[in-house]
């Protein structure tokens, strides 16, 4: 079915928000099902300390499937992460076969236990801020992620997390 650029842009917005919901709920397979087989994921940040662009995590789809498949084997901080995302911009290529999007991202963490569950449990704080810089492949009305760069501003990450952002 032929679709125009505006319709593709709407699909892309919907797709980005869908990834947020899936990742919020730790539905990793459903998240990755929205990605093409050539998908590449990375978390990156610029460090003013060392004056370098850095990669904190990265790999192809199969790597992401592998590490998310092993999460149950890790001692994880199970404090939920919830994403607040606003799609700022979607650019669809003239041939309607690819697109890019920029999404502003804030991730909140609500402590399950914290340092002391009696005191800290239920406390919400900002875990990190950044952007999703996404690329898509478009085939008619089929849109899939082919690349996501999570571009962090936050570099103080304290305990970090095993979960992809």
């Amino acid at each position: 079915m032929a679709v125009n650029g505006a319709e593709i842009a709407e699909k892309i917005k919907s797709l980005i928000y869908k990834t947020c919901l899936y990742q919020d709920d730790c539905e990793w397979n459903k998240w990755l099902d929205l990605c093409s087989n050539d998908y590449h994921y990375s978390i990156r940040a610029y460090s003013p300390e060392i004056q370098k662009d850095m990669e904190y995590m990265g790999g192809p789809k199969e790597y992401m499937e592998s590490i998310t498949g092993q999460l149950r084997k890790h001692n994880i901080d199970d404090s939920p992460l919830k994403r607040h995302a606003v799609v700022y911009r979607v650019d669809v290529a003239d041939d309607n076969k690819s697109a890019t999007a920029v999404t502003s991202l804030t991730v909140f963490q609500t402590l399950l236990g914290g340092n002391s569950s009696h005191v800290d449990a239920g406390t919400t704080g900002i875990f990190l801020v950044g952007r999703y810089n996404d690329k898509f492949v478009v085939d008619g009305d089929d849109v899939k992620f082919i690349e996501r760069e999570v571009r962090l501003e936050t570099r103080r990450l304290d305990k970090g997390t095993h979960w992809p952002i």
């Binding site: 978390i43 003013p48 060392i50 850095m54 995590m57 084997k73 890790h74 970090g160 997390t161």
Partner: protein, 414 residues
Amino acid sequence: MSARNQEQWTAKPKLQSGEWVDSKIYSDEEIFEEELEKIWKQMWIPVCHESELKNAYDFRTMTIAREPVIVVRGKDMKVRAFLNVCPHRGNMIERRPSGSFAKSTPSGTPKTMTCMFHAWQFDMKGKCVNITRKEEGYQDRLCESDVGLRELKSEVYFGGFIWVSLNDNINQTVEEFAAGALDSLAPSVNEEPLEVFHYHKAIIDCNYKLWHDTNCEFYHDYLHYHNRITGFNDEYFARKNTGFKGGHVNVGSFEVQYENYEGFHSREELSFPHLPANQWYMIDMFPGVNFNLRGSALRSDIMTPLGPNKVMIEFRGLGLASDSPKDRKIRIDHHNSIWGPFGRNLCEDLIAVTGQGATMQSGSESRQILHGRHENETIHDENGMRHYYEEWGRWVGRSPSHPDQPFVEPTETA
């Protein structure tokens, strides 16, 4: 006896002195302040790496024991360290984490450190080169030569790390301070220039020594069950913990069987100079520094104690400055998979020590923290921690097991 009552719980363990410490050393405000004065202000502390100041006039800022420090590279390419404090009114001269003095600032001319407050200026050797409206205000009572910056002892040592001491009278070089603890990795890190490719920080609620303990003891392999246990073999359990003068410990290497870890593969494609493939060395330096080399990537943890129950840890990853883009990517991937903030092991270590910190907050009851495992000084022996706390006792002048009593040198059999 199963569960214990209060008297039993707080009773002296059936272990030798030195095989446990009192949790008060992790939680007491007074002891913490003593540590800053008696240890952190006296020692060599690595503060950053020379690759963070590549060019003349580059700088980095940091703190040691709350004192603001600035490290600059001069026109002569020599690295020098100063208190980051203007001698005029005590303002911090530079607030950015890094940058260059090659260009002008809103209050100052190029190639000087300029205090933005009243535009006093200093050169890269710490000499004051300009007091604004000097004659009008100070006449001939004060001149530039009276108000230079406070220079700090500094050295570039061990693969380009920049070490600084607040102690003007420190009577050791860094090499003497290390007392041989760094020798096992020296050929690998000194062969050619290194470069930092990773930096992030954690500020967590636990005493700095608890993080150092976690780096010292490998008995917590069980914390990383699926990344460690699955690769265990006799060679792993034979790794030696070797103590060096000054409280430093070196954990000997072995060949890691990465392919035994689900989702990993061998790292034999890339290593460090003179380091056989898949080796893993760990060096824990007193009072709170760690160097960790797993084949292709070097990690350093530099601790900055912020309170009895708060520490900042700066994590760096390093490769060779000459790395091709392909090799650098391999090092980054290897580093991140285990040690990144989204990696497999680092989060687990940080979760565990904050769990300790939660039970050892200021004012909590004193408990015994056991360091009593003896396994012929191999990987699950806790001799590394015992060695560290012996040195800690010497510097602070308190017994680690009974911190209200003075430190006494242990006997040979203790």
